[in-house]
Amino acid sequence: MNKIWLVIQREYLSRVKKKSFLLATLLTPLIFPAIMAIFVWIAVEEKENQALRIIEVVDENNLFFLESSEQYAFSFSSRSVEEAKDLVKDGDRYGFLYIPKISLESPDGITYYGEENPNMNLISYLENNLKKKIEDQRLYESGVDPEILSKIRTSVDVKAITLDETGGERVSDATVNYAIGFVAGILIYMFIFIYGNQIMQGVIEEKSSRIVEILVSSLRPFQLMMGKIVGIAAVGLTQLLIWIVLIGTLTTLVTGILGMQMPQQQAMELAQGEMTQAIPDSEMGEVLAVINGIDFVALVSSFVFYFLGGYLLYGALFAGIGSAVEAPSDAQQFMLPVTIPLIVAYMGLFVFVLQDPNSTTSFWLSIIPFTSPIAMMGRISYGVPFWELGLSMGLLILGFLGTTWLAAKIYRIGILMHGTKPSYKTLWRWVKSSY
């Protein structure tokens, strides 16, 4: 036990003391606020420098009215179509909306002319306004009082409440849950790949430089392997912790400096390109309620569990592969069984889990140990039945015990083998042999 501790210490310190670790750890979190700052800056610039776009409207029905906004002003006239088109061509007008005589039952022929392709926002703004006006007009014509009409107009916003077994209620919001699942899943995916590779590199280094023969005369190969896996996990956790603290501090700082009253949560999402339109202030309270509704202790502890569980499961396999080969380039042939389930989990996260966390596919992805660390993180903020979580965690523990057992069998022989390129068949013989 004492010897594993020595190995953990060496693996940890030799990596944490490196300049490249310091650099990566300090610079990566700077990238997030930097991207965010650029986004915010562009948004602010765009708003300030935007020239008002004037759109000529010719309405032959004399019925419609379009309200001008910060971006668009609507100028109503009775010019001929040709004249109006010329105005656009000359650049005097940004665009031209032509509303011919229409029947309210089937409004056809409304056309927009522009120098450039109109953006979706403008078109849907026009469509919505015209549609509303036509609907109002038709209601009016069938005898509905406009006053009553404005009274019955309501804004509906469905608030989602999740009931849990104990009878408690919490406000939930798909967007917030999506973001949490997205970030947690990707973090675990990246962590497994980056640090799994470090395990493999470390094993290959010890094997190819023949340090390993000296090491295994002092301790069991299993101690050496576990020491390395745990030591590197500690490096990853350290990095994660520093990132969380740094990103938190820097994001708060950046948003503060820019004078944007953008809440951090929303800013983070914006920075990730997740939400391109800002949530209006009125919804802020709701987002906060959703965030308050999430059981953070459960979320964080299950994140740490799947983070470590997934890492240990794959880390052992990476160690096994490293022990079987002599150079990183030889490792390619054995990487497939490791990368495929990881990529399946990653794709599954986006295609199934985040779209429908409770579908059958999502369920199985979050139960099978090879995909559960990533898939379950996508489901967890939506709320997962206790038994499913228990089953998934139990299987993950069994899973990494299994891969560790398998990898240890390959490792103890592989590290001493030189000169031959093993095949899957050889590896299987190693697993079965007692050496």
């Binding site: 010897k3 020595l6 060496r10 030799s14 280094e205 430089s209 023949r210 340090i211 023969e213 000296i214 090491l215 295994v216 005369s217 002092s218 301790l219 001493l416 030189h418 013989r429 042999s433 007692s434 050496y435």
Partner: protein
């Protein structure tokens, strides 16, 4: 010190060791000889508990080999390496601690050895900045820091220039004087003759020879005598191929079923015998002879 009985080991269909018995007394330098692939490395790995034997017994000072012996054995493998990015000091500390030394004790001994070997100025250097010979010295010190009772050296002189090889040789002799038992596995027969008290030879998974250097040489005397004669009374037979130099005649004769005394009596009839010396085989000759003769079996 080390007793091995009927040790067997095979890798699948290939036998690496077949019924090997070995007895290494305390405080000797024991040469383990044999061509490549004979099974030496397997034997050494089993003693180091890196791999397990299929059957057989190993005892160290009367006790069955167990993990508690790890701290009493020092091992310098033939293929050896250090962490390139680690500093000399940290590296030595790591190896010493893995062998069970406490932090403070390990530091004390590393300081002692760095000073003794004139390496103090290297302590903060990374291994990748050292020359090959320097790295080998670091490796050697790392092997003996925990003062093992049994030291196993596999080709210890490979990679050393003659000056440094001499330094390492002196250290090995010094360790022996302290009562440490050394097992030396090597192809370099001149260092075997110089250093070893006893040898064992392994070929094709079997031990084919063992004993003290003297015993081994005795059992392999080729019965050839080197003779010098002067003041000849009678001319020497032509088939003796004697060559003359300043009135002295030099030649070699095989005993050919005679006793040395009978041969000497015969020689005396030709003139004055000024040298009559039995040819002693070198370990190299014995080694080659043994490997070749077992290849014919």
């Amino acid at each position: 010190m080390l007793e091995i009985e009927k040790l067997n080991k095979s890798y699948g269909p290939n036998r690496a060791l077949t019924d090997v018995d070995l007895f290494v007394p305390k405080g000797v330098i024991f040469g383990l000889l044999g061509p490549n692939g004979a099974g030496k490395s397997t034997l050494i790995r089993i003693i180091n508990q890196i791999i397990d034997a299929d059957s057989g017994l190993i005892r160290i000072e009367g006790k069955n080999l167990s993990p508690s012996h790890i701290s009493q054995i020092g091992y310098l493998p033939e293929e050896r390496g250090l962490y390139k990015k680690m500093k000399v000091w940290d590296q030595m500390l790591y190896f010493a601690r893995l062998k069970g030394l406490s932090q403070s004790e390990a530091k004390k001994r590393i300081s002692y050895w760095l000073e003794k070997m004139d390496m103090i100025s290297w302590r903060e250097k990374k291994v990748e900045d050292l020359s090959k010979g320097m790295a080998q010295k670091v490796q050697f010190i790392s092997t003996i820091l925990h003062e093992p009772a049994l030291l196993i050296l596999d080709e210890p002189f490979s990679g050393f220039d003659p000056v440094n090889a001499e330094i390492i040789k002196d250290q090995i002799i010094e360790l022996k004087k302290k009562g440490i038992t050394v097992i030396l596995s090597t192809h370099r027969m001149e260092s075997v003759e110089l250093l070893c008290d006893q040898v064992a030879m392994i070929n094709k998974s079997r031990k084919i020879l063992d004993g003290t250097i003297k015993e081994v040489k005795k059992s392999y005397r080729p019965d050839i005598f080197h003779i010098t004669m002067e003041q000849l009374q009678v001319p020497l037979p032509a088939n003796w191929n004697a060559s003359e130099e300043d009135g002295q005649w030099h030649f070699s004769l095989s005993l050919a079923a005679k006793t040395p005394n009978e041969l000497l009596t015969e020689l005396m009839t030709y003139g004055q015998v000024s040298r009559f010396q039995e040819q002693v085989p070198s370990m190299e000759e014995i080694f080659i002879h043994q490997v070749k003769s077992s290849a014919h079996e």
